[in-house]
């Protein structure tokens, strides 16, 4: 008897027809349940997901909508109602519980409880997650599925331990200028007709631009000077001698290393509408390291950025930190979660996070200026794509729309399923090209359905992904970053 109860309730043979009884009892009559440590007694410190000595590769606690929870409690908060499932892109495309939001939560829970013993079995389930967070938006309890999935991924052997992962993140952290140099080499390689080499180097992967590997033409002019190099020389942005600043521009990696024009547009828009500001001359926010298994590195990125912020704050007083890639802004807003066990850094991270603002929310409609008719005519029909980390990660939906509606007026169209992920999702397009493509197709169909000419986005991976898709399927439309759009349509004649 005991054996059968312990067998995880799988019935492999027909010769015990009362099996079903046992199985039901295992959940409904806990007396019978000896099979899982989590169910034996109420002990929420259970964690069979990873050994204690690997704890530094994991988050100490998750900061959820319902308060600070350990991983087990956070996953257990899911009561399996399933209301998230229809918001999960991978579930909607495949109909498979295994690669659905609820499924991923349950998988991690089973791993923690030891009911599923081999994390390798979870590889498909966890690696196909876009981390878009649509499930958490749909969830009444706001179960933080993306964080739970990442915790699961971090338990996979070898995750984040690849040569390029270590080398690229390490260089970005310790020798950003070397990284920039390296990246330029990659661009040169691309220009000389060796784009595959760049892809193979795994670089795009780590700067969140995997779409580029598929669509090299996304880079219209290779930025041989990165945004940070330009901004560093901008006298108006130097903190020296200033007593206060209305804003500080944080150069996220996408705008910094690839889409330089976004960074410059953001700065122009800020200068024009929000007065005097500074450039933080920051490091990468650490999101890529965080998402790809290198939590220690992510913490280090965070600490250095926080220290940089505090240094500026000492001279300038309070100021908002403006980022123009929603993924990075959302991540920096969650810095506190990296340091839940660290009494020194936790309050510092909280203070920094509170100062972070996405450019999407920073400029109120009344300060956004006025659209120049010619520029607006050129923009045509305008629509807005909710980048996942803006809508689901930061709850920013109304703010950018208010500005766009004001600027574009009649020309603005609401995009159906606007918060359906585009499939870019960091390195997702690179690691899961097939699903990514199917996710993107649905986005493109929706864009076509409103006959949009301009799709405004707030994150750089969306920009690359959607543009790559549009070029192929709907070339009369283009995606532009929010800052670029604001900059272009409000630019007065003669400024161009």
């Amino acid at each position: 008897m005991r054996d059968k109860e312990n067998s995880g309730t799988t019935s492999m043979s027909d010769n015990n027809l009362t099996d079903s009884e046992e199985q039901v009892k295992t959940t409904w009559e806990p007396d019978y349940d000896q099979s899982s440590p989590g169910a034996r007694h109420f002990h929420n410190e259970v964690n069979e997901l990873y050994p204690h000595e690997s704890a530094d590769r994991h988050l100490g606690a998750l900061l959820t909508d319902l308060g600070e929870r350990n991983l087990y409690d956070a996953a257990a908060q899911c009561n399996r109602c399933g209301y998230c499932e229809t918001s999960c892109p991978t579930y909607m495309l495949t109909g498979r519980e295994t690669i659905s939001a609820r499924g991923r939560n349950q998988f991690v829970r089973m791993l923690v409880e030891g009911q599923a013993r081999d994390p390798v079995a979870a590889t498909e389930s966890l690696s196909t997650c876009l981390l878009c967070g649509a499930c958490s938006s749909a969830c009444y309890a706001k179960v933080p599925t993306p964080d739970i999935v990442l915790e699961g991924r971090r338990a996979l052997t070898g995750y984040g331990e690849g040569f390029f992962a270590r080398a690229a993140v390490g260089t970005l952290l310790n020798a950003p200028r070397l990284f920039a140099f390296w990246l330029k080499l990659a661009y040169l390689a691309k220009m000389t007709g060796l784009p595959r080499l760049a892809a193979r180097m795994g670089l795009y992967d780590f700067i969140g631009m995997p779409g580029l590997a598929e669509a090299e033409s996304a880079i219209e002019h290779t930025p041989l000077r990165f945004a940070s190099e330009i901004l560093r020389r901008d006298q108006e942005l130097k903190p020296q001698g200033k007593r206060q600043a209305n804003w500080a521009y944080f150069a996220a990696c996408g705008p910094n290393f690839v889409f330089t024009e976004i960074a410059l547009a953001t700065v122009r828009v800020l200068k024009k509408n929000c007065g005097d500001g500074v450039f933080t001359d920051n490091l990468c926010c650490g999101l890529m390291a965080h998402n790809y298994g290198r939590l220690g590195d992510a913490r280090e990125f965070a600490r250095r950025n926080i220290a940089r912020y505090e240094e500026l704050k000492a001279g300038l007083g309070e100021f908002p930190v403006i980022a123009d890639c929603s993924s990075c802004a959302a991540f920096m807003k969650s810095y506190e979660q990296l340091f839940t066990g660290d009494e020194e850094w936790r309050p510092r991270a909280r203070a920094f996070a509170a100062a972070v603002k996405d450019i999407l929310e920073f400029i109120p409609p009344e300060k956004a200026g006025r659209a120049a008719p010619a520029a607006l005519a050129q923009a045509g029909r305008v629509t807005y794509h909710d980048s996942c980390r803006a809508a689901h990660g930061q709850g920013l939906r109304a703010e950018p729309r208010a500005v766009l509606r004001k600027l574009a007026g009649e020309q603005y169209r609401e995009l159906p399923e606007s918060d359906w992920c585009c499939g870019g999702a960091g390195a997702f397009a690179f690691t899961q090209p097939e699903i990514s493509r199917a996710v993107l197709d649905r986005k493109l169909r929706n864009i076509a359905s409103v006959q949009a000419d301009t799709v405004v986005v707030g994150a750089t991976s969306c920009l690359a992904q959607i543009n790559a898709g549009l070029r192929e399927a709907y070339p009369s439309a283009r995606a532009v970053h929010y800052s670029v759009f604001l900059d272009e349509v409000t630019r007065e004649d003669g400024q161009q």
């Binding site: 027909d14 039901v24 959940t27 319902l66 399996r80 499932e85």
Partner: protein
């Protein structure tokens, strides 16, 4: 042979049908189909992901042939463990079959695949100005296939009926892998309606033709705040009793409201303990305004502290979001929730509430209370954490006591969520031995090898022993209590009815055949064949027993419809049916008017051996067991003799029927008086009809010509 070997033996066949990548036996996939939104857990051995509806029948045939259990699964949001593979075997995942194949506004039908999400269908219908009535709170994620499997309800079913009332036709893959298309209008016993609510135990739906309705031109939504749930429920009874049939009439308590608000400001005055959501629809502004005025007044009379109309679509959406979010929002309060689904006759809701509360507090639990108040359907959402063993025990006991309380109040154990595995044992408390055996025989007829979603709905051997009657399992006040059915049992039957039972038993003992002639309206002497002796039901015609508060009437089968109609009108009620002729029993058995099923809540039936079955009940919703009431619609007297029927009444003056006249307050525009087909009994039984006959009347004693003597052959 071990199951794994059996699977290996058919694996190549499965792969050739659905493709290699869609046949999964890896640990991840197995684990991910071991749970649903309920509490039960068991792992399947194999998962099949379908990409086309045509793949289902051949796959089912393979599993059936190999003796491997299987069950269909869609969103996995059911609350009774219905999609848990208790004996392992195969999960047939139909989630990708989600095409809306046709929307025909002329015929008012939508043809959809089972994986279509309820809300997606609504969105597709909206541009045409149509809607599909069943709107379970889970509609954002639950699918048509699942809704059919559970016979889902929803707020709108108060006025528009549950899923079963809104399905026109189903394409079903039988457990043996045959494809059949059944409509409730088909001649003969209504197999389609038995499939609805059968939780995948009788077949798998691969296409559904759903009835769609024009969106009413006017919809008004109001919320009413009350200082107590009791006063809110008092208002509910009076609203329904006033003759107004709201589109929806929902109640929720403070716990539910607070959770669903998600921290937003409380729109209701302080001291609010319960809220009603009242929604009315119609086409005439004046009528609707008058109804609203009445509703407002009734609420005010019941201590309502704030009555507020939803000003615009946004406010209306917000109200409904709060109501429909009340269950998922329980996740904010605790990691697990047990949702009970008992139904009681509406006037007994306040009692049910009192008892439910007493039970919850006795076990020191917290629950959010939700009511489809107009239907008498209660959803206590009991909170717990399944990692706390002691708490789980208390929750389980409380759940069972609540169900027993519903049964004792004349209700049933599930209105719309199904029995699955979690409420299986409670079937023993609701039904007697005869009814449970009868349900078992239905299962055998559809699924001779017992492989389609086995061990669901009906109690299994071990539970029979411990269950009935009034289970002593908890040593509660129920110990020693007799089966407390809605019906009063044989003892309460009229002498005429008891006479019929005795006569049938005598004839059965003698092996004599019977022709059930009723009042002789349809079954004329020349139709009687095979030497059957007539059995008239003229004496079985006591007056209708009207339950004024509950809006139901129990009627003996020999009463003529005209007579019934007259009695009801005299009492201020009517049936939502066109004028009909003949005995009540004859009308049901002949299915002269297929719509009669929509008004029928319960049946008392004598089988050929004189045993009595009590099916259905006095509640407007009931998914406990197979829908045998509807199975008897069109049974042509060959399955059993209908002794009495319980109907759902409408209050108020009856609408006029006839060409071009007035309006019906009910579902459809005024119905023409029925033109009966002269060949009402032209019926070609199919294999399942024959197997059912063999189960119910193995010696072919009742109306033997219907199955033509040879009828009891298997095919």
């Amino acid at each position: 042979m071990f199951k794994q070997d059996k699977i290996s033996a058919i694996r190549a066949g499965l792969e050739s049908i659905v493709g290699r990548e869609n046949v999964r036996t890896d640990e991840a996939e197995i684990l991910m189909y071991s749970y649903d939104a309920g509490m039960a857990r068991a792992r399947p051995d194999i998962v099949i992901n379908f990409t086309a509806a045509e793949q289902v029948a051949p796959v089912v045939k393979l599993f059936y042939g190999a003796g491997i259990p299987f069950l269909p699964r869609l969103a996995g949001t059911n609350l009774s463990g219905g999609t848990i593979p208790l004996r392992g075997g195969a999960i047939l995942n139909l989630s990708r079959l989600k095409k809306i194949r046709q929307i025909d506004t002329g015929a008012r039908l939508a043809l959809v695949e089972p994986g279509v999400v309820n809300l997606e269908l609504q969105k597709a219908l909206e541009p045409f100005g149509f809607f599909y009535a069943p709107d379970p709170s889970s509609q954002k994620v639950s699918t048509i296939g699942g809704n059919v499997g559970e016979n889902a309800g929803g707020p709108l079913c108060l006025k528009y009926g549950v899923t079963s009332d809104n399905v026109e036709k189903l394409e079903v893959v039988t457990p043996q892998g045959e494809v059949r298309t059944w409509s409730y209008k088909d001649r003969g016993p209504d197999l389609m309606s038995v499939i609805v609510g059968s939780e995948g135990t009788l077949g798998i739906v691969t296409s559904a033709w759903l009835k769609i309705l024009p969106i009413p031109p006017l919809i008004k939504t109001a919320s009413a705040a009350f200082p107590s749930l009791e006063s809110a429920l008092g208002a509910v009874t009076r609203i329904i009793g006033s003759g107004i049939l709201p589109r929806a009439l929902e109640a929720m308590d403070k716990v539910s409201m607070d959770a669903a608000r998600l921290g937003k400001a409380d729109p209701f005055p302080g001291g609010t303990e319960a809220v009603l959501i009242i929604e009315l629809d119609g086409s005439e502004e004046a009528v609707l305004a008058a109804e609203l005025e009445t509703v407002h007044k009734i609420c005010a009379d019941n201590a309502c502290s704030a009555f507020k109309m939803a000003g615009d679509e946004a406010e209306r959406t917000l109200l409904w979001a709060a109501r429909k979010g009340a269950y998922p929002a329980m996740a904010r309060l605790a990691p697990d929730v047990l949702v009970e689904d008992g139904v009681v006759p509406r006037p007994r809701l306040p009692e049910a509430l009192r008892e439910t509360r007493a039970i919850i507090s006795k076990y020191k639990l917290t629950a959010g209370l939700l009511f489809h108040a107009g239907d008498g359907n209660l959803h206590p959402n009991i909170l717990f954490d399944r990692r706390d063993i002691q708490e789980v025990k208390r929750v389980r006991k409380a759940g069972y006591e609540i169900l027993k309380s519903c049964i004792r109040l004349g209700g049933t154990i599930s209105g719309e969520h199904g029995i699955g595995v979690e409420k299986r044992v409670a079937m023993n408390w609701l039904y007697g031995r005869e009814e449970l055996d009868f349900f078992q025989s239905i299962k055998r007829a559809f699924d001779p090898a017992g492989l389609a979603n086995p061990d669901k709905i009906l109690p299994v051997a071990t539970e029979k022993a411990a269950g009935a009657p009034g289970s002593q399992a908890f040593g509660s006040q129920f110990a020693g209590q007799e089966k407390s059915s809605v019906f009063s049992g044989r003892a309460a039957l009229s002498p005429a009815a008891r006479g019929i039972l005795d006569e049938l038993r005598l004839r059965s003992d003698a092996g004599a055949r019977t022709a059930v002639t009723g009042l002789g309206t349809r079954l004329k002497a020349e139709r009687i064949m095979e030497g059957a002796r007539p059995l008239g039901l003229g004496r079985l015609s006591g007056g209708a027993e009207i339950d004024r508060e509950n809006l139901t009437a129990r009627v003996e089968a020999g009463l003529s419809f005209e007579e019934l109609d007259g009695q009801l009108r005299a009492a201020g009620f009517y049936l939502d049916l066109p004028p009909l002729k003949g005995s009540v029993g004859g009308l049901i058995a002949s299915k002269a008017c297929p719509e009669i099923r929509g008004t029928l809540l319960g049946l008392e039936v004598a089988l050929a051996d004189g045993s009595l079955l009590e099916l259905g009940g006095k509640t407007v919703k009931n998914v406990a067991g197979y829908d045998a009431v509807r199975l008897f619609c069109g049974s042509l007297g060959a399955y059993g003799v209908i002794i009495a029927a319980t109907f759902k009444l409408r209050a108020g003056p009856a609408p006029h029927f006839g060409p071009g006249t007035g309006k019906s307050a009910g579902l459809a525009p005024a119905r023409e008086p029925l033109k009966e087909a002269p060949d009402w009994d032209a019926f070609e039984p199919e294999a399942i009809h024959r197997r059912l006959k063999k189960e119910f009347d193995p010696r072919n004693l009742l109306n033997p010509w219907v199955y033509r003597g040879e009828g009891l052959r298997d095919e």
